[in-house]
């Protein structure tokens, strides 16, 4: 048996000078989080932590640092942590964003960074809200394809132009950033909300779908598209860059032209 010892490999094939530290800067931030723990108090309060973060970190990393190292009772939702699942929409510095897509260095780190639950939905604990009213509206617009023709043996064909018609609204990840940024939704939560209308739009303008009229009828409700005041909060809030207000206007036009 040979007992030759091999020379240890270098840690990295690329040698970085010590001084750069990988080129990542660190800075201190103050994270100010709206806490609500119904087991202990009916009152919500603000908690603050000053933590050292790196230039590549996002708000979600700061929340993780607090939860994993400082206060394990901090509660928030996150699943994929990469802006796809839509779990971690929250109000950061007064704007609805995904914590996993908001880099700390893009925020004003000289001020405390405020993190609150999204508005208009019942808070269950800390940053976790009851999403049921939101998904209720989503279910109501029937977010699935309804085709009256028998299924063909292969796929249902669609021209690139027809596909392009609703491309923008296919991007929705149901994070509720738009609906919970809408002042009309804040009042009583009865309004369908931008997200439901966006997802209705995705099927209404799909050439393969045959239930557009049913969805238009649903959205012609008194809590439907006519409650939209075009404040554009939803378009600003959408982490996917969907032109939400435009989609709502297109649904309004579709209802009008159908009625005419």
């Amino acid at each position: 048996m040979s007992t030759t010892t091999e020379a240890a490999e270098p840690a990295s094939t690329v040698d970085l000078p010590e001084s750069t530290g990988g080129g990542i800067t660190t800075f201190d931030i103050t994270l100010k989080v709206r806490r609500y723990i119904p087991e202990f108090s009916d009152e919500a309060r603000w908690d603050e932590w000053t933590i050292t973060m790196q230039g590549t970190d996002r708000v979600l990393d700061a929340l993780h640092k607090v939860k994993w190292e400082l206060d394990g009772s901090l509660s928030f939702r996150r699943s994929c942590a990469h802006g796809v699942c839509g779990s971690d929409a929250m109000r950061i510095n007064g704007r609805n964003r995904l914590a996993c897509k908001t880099l700390l260095k893009d925020l004003d780190t000289s001020q405390p960074i405020t993190v609150e639950p999204i508005k208009g939905l019942p808070v269950e604990k800390d940053l976790i809200v009851d999403m049921e009213p939101f998904f209720q509206s989503y279910r109501e617009i029937m977010p699935f394809m309804i085709a009256n023709s028998p299924a063909p043996s292969a796929e249902r064909y669609q021209s690139p132009e027809d596909r392009e018609r609703f491309d923008d609204t296919t991007k929705c990840i149901l994070c509720a950033a738009c609906t919970s940024s809408c002042p009309v939704f804040w009042t009583d939560g009865q309004y369908f909300g931008p997200a439901a209308i966006v997802n209705a739009h995705r099927f209404i303008f799909d050439s393969r779908d045959d239930a557009g009229d049913m969805r238009l009828e649903v959205l012609n409700d008194k809590e439907g598209v006519w409650r939209c005041r075009t404040t554009f909060n939803c378009t600003d809030a959408c982490p996917r860059g969907i032109e939400v207000t435009k989609a709502i206007q297109e649904v309004k036009t579709a209802i009008l032209t159908r009625a005419a």
């Binding site: 029937m142 012609n220 009008l256």
Partner: protein, 164 residues
């Protein structure tokens, strides 16, 4: 061996309403359908808005800019205008459109800002009453306007326009 297929149902005709049964009732949207009233109100706001821009700016121009300008406005000036059926009609349309447009705007604001149904009901009752009184009163004034006003003693009031 035989297989029995259950008859396929078209999804569009066999769809259950998504909120039937399994949903917590506290999240149910109140099911009082308003037909297409909200749509009609929305369309009305657009068209009455356009009409009002024309009506109001012509009204302002005729009253304040043309002829003698601001100084011309007195009882006699209004009496002169309302002797003409065109201006009667103009002011009537302006009154109705402006009141309905404004009241519908207020209704929208009440819907957006009032949080309780009872508050909404009260505010809307006051709004509808107020709007109705103003519309009825204004319409009456336009049609029953008396240019020749006499006081209790039967003397002609200053600036009244009486056939001599």
């Amino acid at each position: 061996m035989t297989t029995t297929n259950t008859p396929a149902a078209f999804p569009a005709t066999s769809l259950e309403a998504p909120r039937s049964g399994r949903i917590d009732p506290k999240y149910l949207r109140s099911k009082t359908s308003s037909g297409s009233f909200e749509m009609a109100a929305w369309v009305f706001m657009r068209f009455s808005g356009i009409a009002l821009v024309v009506l109001i700016f012509v009204h302002l121009w005729v009253n304040l800019m043309s002829g003698g300008g601001i100084a011309q406005i007195d009882f006699g000036f209004v009496a002169g205008k309302w002797a003409n059926p065109v201006w009667q009609f103009w002011d009537l349309v302006m009154l109705w459109l402006a009141m309905l447009h404004g009241a519908n705007g207020m209704r929208t604001i009440i819907n957006d800002y009032a949080e309780k149904d009872s508050t909404r009901l009260w505010l809307k009752t006051i709004l509808v009453l107020g709007a109705a009184i103003i519309v009825v009163l204004g319409t009456l004034v336009i049609f029953t306007f008396e240019p020749c006003m006499l006081d209790a003693a039967g003397e002609q009031l200053p600036r009244a326009v009486c056939p001599s």
